[in-house]
Amino acid sequence: MTTVIASPTQEEHSRVNDTAQEIVEVSGITKVYPGGTVALRGVDLAFPKGKMTTLLGPSGCGKTTLLKIIAGLLDATEGVVRVNGKEVSGPGPERAFVFQDFALLPWATVLTNVGFGLEMQGVDKATREAKSRSYITKVGLAGFEDNYPHELSGGMRQRVGLARALAVSADVLLMDEPFSAVDEQTRRLFQEELLRLLAMENKTVIFVTHSIEEAVYVSDQIVLLSPRPGRINRVVIPGIERDGKTPDEIRREPGFLDTVEDIWDTLKKYLDEERMV
């Protein structure tokens, strides 16, 4: 059942590290923006292979910054990111990014958008289209191949973004608040589908969100970041058993609710501190 470790930065860390199957390793990451804002300070983290890790924290804790550093889209001021043991110096084919605002090409069809990553890798057109079509079907958009992004709803657009990321067969999926621009009903359905898809594809996922419930519901491991400058506060393992339960049953379980409550207590403290300042 739920494992919540109260003040465990140290022990919890070693636990995750012990698994020795971490695919992404972050050590000593500090990020200072021009102008002197310190977004992250001394962040060490390990992401176990095949698991879903969530970066959770209040606005301004640098969670998106950390994700973009892992993606190679931003350079860290200090520290290194290793993927499969190799140091990262930019974007690479073993990582794929899912954007908060979808980042779809508005002038291209769903098919072209999903195939964009493959096109950049120089995959020939026929293979590209075949692969794109199969992922379009997997995310439930069969029949929309020739539609343009502006003809789709927010939820459908993000499915395109997800299919595009899956199509390049990266080991690590980096998702930046993927559901924040999607309405609540769609979001819940989407979370289910995401879990199902990931179970099939066996991906490592790093997921940024500010929704506590979402984090607890989808993650194997939750990293709580403290605000400005972002540091790791604690790591929570929700350990939710899904077998044979409906989503609603899971959301009603005491274990689920306790974890949500526990994380909320921590985040509330930040807000109180902020108010006092």
């Binding site: 990014f97 090409l105 002038w107 890798q121 502006h150």
Partner: protein
């Protein structure tokens, strides 16, 4: 507007203005307005004249060459300013000044440097059009969503792919708007240039007509120019509307 239950598009109000013109012309009220019907008769006549054909060909050629270079240089400069901060700081001020400067005052210099012929007209067209194309391209490039940029990078896009498959298309609505405005300005440029040079092509015709008080011919020639300007600008507008759907859809 609805007349007697029938929807009449606004374009038809032009017919009312034409009718008014005809009436004013018939009444001989203002002598610079000959009746529209008489102007149209002359228009058909002019369209068949050889010297008009020659003038039109010279003007069109000057116009196309000037416009071609304006688009090429304008789009290039716009991209340069949008992507390279130093270029923006160095060029931005000048582009802004020349985009709204009274370029008609430069034509006398152009006549000195390039003579009283086609070259002057070409340079005038270029100068009238290039700045607005640069400004619009720059606006388009600098408003490209940063996440589109990051997306392309995250999938390992090469520099070339970045420009040809993402940035160019993302900025296309603004580039087209710039070209349309540049076009409108270029038509004005070709006319102003020819009026001031006044010894070649349409400019020569205009000055001959106005010196000999051939008002009907003068209006006919002006109308031909107007129709030409509107025709092409609505053509570019049509292309623009085809890409408009994504101009609004971008974030």
């Amino acid at each position: 507007m609805v007349f007697f239950g029938v929807r009449v598009p606004a374009v038809f109000s032009l017919l009312i203005w034409c009718a008014l013109w005809e009436v004013v012309g018939r009444m001989d009220a203002v002598f610079i307005f000959p009746p529209l019907s008489a102007v149209l008769v002359k228009l058909v006549m002019i369209l068949g004249q050889n010297n008009f054909h020659e003038a039109a060909i010279i003007s069109l050629k000057a116009f196309s060459i000037g416009m071609f270079w304006a688009v090429l240089v304008g789009v290039f400069l716009g991209f340069l300013m949008g992507r390279v901060d130093a270029a923006n700081k160095l060029l931005g001020m000048w582009v802004n000044i020349f985009a709204s400067a009274p370029l008609s005052s430069l034509v006398p210099i152009l006549m000195l440097l390039f003579g009283f012929g086609e070259t002057t007209i070409i340079v005038t067209v270029f100068l009238f059009a290039v700045w607005i194309i640069t400004l619009d391209t720059y606006a388009g490039v600098s408003h490209i969503s940063p996440s589109l940029n990051e997306m392309a990078r995250s999938f390992g896009a090469s520099k070339w792919d970045m420009y040809t498959k993402v940035l160019f298309w993302a900025a296309l609505p603004e580039i087209l708007a710039g070209i349309r405005m540049g076009f409108i300005r270029a038509v004005k440029g070709v006319v102003i240039g020819q009026l001031l040079v006044s010894v070649v092509a349409l400019g020569a015709m205009f000055s001959r007509y106005s010196r000999s008080f051939l008002l009907e011919e003068f209006w006919a020639l002006a109308l031909i120019l107007f129709v030409f300007a509107l025709g092409i600008s609505s053509m570019i507008g049509w292309v623009e509307r085809r890409v408009e759907y994504y101009a609004g859809a971008r974030m």
